[in-house]
Symmetry: C2
Subunit: 120 residues, 2 copies
């Protein structure tokens, strides 16, 4: 990696780390982890999400029962204010990362006419 | 997006665009596209690749015949010097983008203990 690219990537990492969106995410994540019952609720929901996504990625069908269970768990954790705020903060940071990726991979998009990685 | 993050992302985009790896990729891509028979050979190979990857992503089995056809097409296009150089340049830029992503998403990795997007 050239020095210029390397330095620019580290500058971006630092700007992201110092951004309000990331700091709020960090603070809410710490709040969730500081309370055991909140942490358990959040971990269970996250594990369920990961499980269903892995099934989908492997081309397996999600049953109606599983979809219902995920929806119920989602509604339950949403009622916890700190978790709800954390999930919103995660969405904002996720969007921020997507926007960053769109900017950074623009040279490739211009070259190939689409934003995907050229090897994929 | 905060001004700092925005500016840092644009700086990185520019550094990537000005890097030797990217400039070489661009030059080789232009060379491949400038010659019709080379372009056709490359397009056919790329389309075959995309087709097989879509099948895999949809959880479909790649047949032995398809795998053999892909391997033969790969060996054929590799014998074209410009295409072979282009594919090597693509791999270097792809690796560069992966290295950049690893740096930029380090704050998230530290927060969650893994490098994945928190929403995924
Ligand atoms: Ca409690
Ligand atoms: Ca020719």
């Amino acid at each position: 990696m050239s020095k210029n690219v390397h330095d620019a990537a580290y500058n971006l990492e630092n700007a992201l780390r110092e951004s309000d969106d990331f700091k709020e995410l960090q603070s809410l994540y710490d709040q969730v982890n500081a309370d055991e019952s909140t942490k358990n609720m959040f971990d269970n929901f996250r594990n369920l999400q990961v499980e269903l996504q892995q099934k989908q990625m492997q081309g397996q069908q999600i049953t109606e029962e599983e979809a219902q269970q995920a929806q119920q768990t989602f509604e339950l954790v949403q009622q916890n204010e700190v978790i709800s705020k954390l999930m919103n903060a995660e969405q904002r940071v996720s969007q921020l990362i997507q926007d960053i990726n769109k900017i950074v991979t623009k040279p490739l998009e211009e070259l190939y006419g689409n934003p995907e990685d050229p090897q994929q």
